[in-house]
């Protein structure tokens, strides 16, 4: 027998299959998500309503400041829907990304003592953020129906694509920054900075046409291939656009930027998984 060969039936403990293992242990994943959802607002009177207080307050502030004071409301038809549909998808991104980044440090006690696929933690953070996001989509749908909404099938599929892009992107970034956060707690501050920029670097509060009119073409291209920008535009295409007289145009290359955004997100997920696996061996030591 060769000394270093692995005999049949034996495995090296601590060497899992990464994200694949997370889906092999779906039951544990659902329990972790359920725990997170249950525990989050324990002991508060409003409970889960708190997760709607934040987007509502944000919406009111932006609507007053930009919609009314800076008269975006007059310039953009159905501005409240425009604002809200973009805002919720950006919040989904920020929450999934931020919680994913902190998830490993938050679960240090577990990671140091028991081996389980560590990707479990960023993935469950994304799912929790998504669970939180869905009722906000429902509110958007109700409001859209109320003002007269006539979406086409591709527009509705676009909304689903927007969610897919954000979920993949945020999971990948959560793994990347979460793994880095184990050794360097600077990482979570960087994430907060990104969250701050993302809201303004995508057409959530203003339209893409104002960017087109202000910057050179190459910069517009860079602006548009940001997957978050594409997701926001897909949300606009699904919710806002079909409630307007279609005076303001959607970006003409949305199908193409969507494809690019999906590719970028998948690439980020793969890079995230790769870096995560490289750093994983040290998690239990460094936490």
């Amino acid at each position: 027998m060769i000394p270093s060969a692995t005999p049949r039936g034996f495995v090296e403990p601590g060497h899992g299959a990464g994200l694949l293992d997370v889906f092999r242990r779906r039951y544990l994943l659902t329990l972790l998500v359920r725990k997170e959802v249950q525990v989050r607002y324990r002991g508060s009177v409003l409970g889960w309503l708190w997760s709607y207080v934040k987007p509502t307050a944000q919406f009111i502030v932006f609507f007053l400041a930009l919609g009314v004071f800076l008269s975006q409301n007059a310039r953009i038809e159905s501005y409240p829907i425009y604002l809200f549909s973009g805002l919720i998808v950006v919040n989904l991104f920020n929450e999934a990304f931020g919680n994913g980044t902190r998830s490993l440090v938050d679960n240090a006690a577990l990671i140091k003592k028991i081996y389980l696929p560590r990707e479990m933690f960023p993935v469950s953070s994304t799912i929790v953020a998504f669970v939180n996001f869905l009722p906000q989509v429902l509110i958007t749908v109700v409001v859209c129906l109320f003002v007269g909404w006539h979406p086409t099938v591709p527009q509705l599929l676009g909304v689903i694509l927007a969610m897919v892009i954000i979920v993949i992107l945020a999971t990948g970034l959560g793994m990347l920054f979460g793994a880095a956060n184990v050794s360097f707690r600077d990482s979570q501050n960087v994430v907060e900075l990104i969250a701050l920029v993302v809201t303004w670097a995508s057409p959530v509060l203003y339209t893409w046409t104002t960017v087109r009119d202000a910057v050179p073409g190459w910069l517009l291209t860079i602006y548009q291939i940001n997957p978050v920008t594409t997701a926001v535009e897909l949300m606009h295409a699904g919710f806002w656009y079909p409630t307007t007289g279609e005076q303001l145009p959607l970006p003409p290359n949305l199908a193409m930027t969507s494809a690019i955004a999906l590719l970028i997100s998948v690439a980020v997920l793969l890079v995230g998984q790769f870096v995560f696996r490289r750093l994983e061996g040290r998690f239990a030591q460094d936490l």
Partner: protein, 249 residues
């Protein structure tokens, strides 16, 4: 089917394992950068384990013995997969359940019932396996009346009993036990030991770390004494305990 040498009844193989800990003195990019500029050492290393070699067969109960800091808990973490060796190889066959620390995955805001499911699942059980064991776990922990109460309202004794009950019922093929033989009051301890014996007769493989030398010597047939990161003795547990006592008296 041809047998591969005599490995067929092995459960754990530890080959030439070295574990080195790197202690970083910096915890932010800024600190690292400043330390680099001042040419300070960013890290120091020390070897927690070196040249460790042993094999454990199916159904064996092995005590890892050693004084504080000898590296025995590190060895247990290497077998469970929490840590990875820097050199050499650790191999296991079958499902490993680690009782590295009882109650590590417990959440105070969840009820006893929810914690049972969460923890058993963390230890590698499937849903149906937990369903099957649920009544036994509750029975063993003796807290049936409080099973739907949040764990934070439990007394420490109740908490430990529940945690141990979950862990002991999640035994798969290999069980790793760290310093948990001293949980609960005396009747409960006796019950735990009886349960461990029952698992031994079922042919489960067990690796135990404890400072309670007499109990551990009675529980395990084989002892591996680790001294400053090296195997100092490997043989019958009574002799291992004697060797350990002789080494520092």
């Amino acid at each position: 089917m041809p047998k591969i040498s005599d490995d067929s009844d092995l459960r754990i193989i530890v080959r030439d394992v070295r574990k080195r800990f790197v202690l970083r003195h910096t915890h932010s990019l800024k600190e690292s950068f400043i330390a680099l500029l001042r040419r300070k050492k960013l890290t120091t290393t020390f070897d927690a384990l070196h040249d460790i070699d042993f094999e454990i067969r199916e159904g064996e109960s092995v005590a890892l013995l050693g004084f504080n800091g000898s590296g025995k808990s590190t060895m247990l973490k290497l077998i469970s997969g929490v840590l990875r060796p820097d050199q050499g190889q650790v191999l296991t066959r079958g499902r490993v359940a680690g009782l590295i620390e009882v109650g590590a995955g417990f959440h105070p805001d969840l009820s006893g019932r929810e914690n049972i499911y969460l923890n058993a699942s963390i230890l590698g059980m499937s849903r149906s396996e937990v369903d099957e064991r649920f009544d036994d776990i509750v029975e063993f922990s003796e807290i049936r009346d409080f099973i739907d109460t949040e764990v934070k309202h439990y007394s420490s004794g109740m908490f430990v009993r529940l945690a141990f009950a979950v862990a002991i019922h999640c035994t798969l093929d290999i069980m790793l036990v760290d310093e948990i033989l001293s949980v609960g009051d005396e009747p409960f301890q006796r019950k735990c030991l009886a349960k461990i014996r029952e698992l031994q007769t079922q042919g489960k493989t067990m690796v135990v770390v404890s400072h309670d030398l007499d109990t551990v010597a009675r529980l395990c047939d084989r002892g591996i004494l680790i001294d400053r990161g090296r195997v100092a003795f490997d043989g019958p547990s009574a002799e291992a305990v004697a060797a350990m006592r002789a080494s520092r008296s």
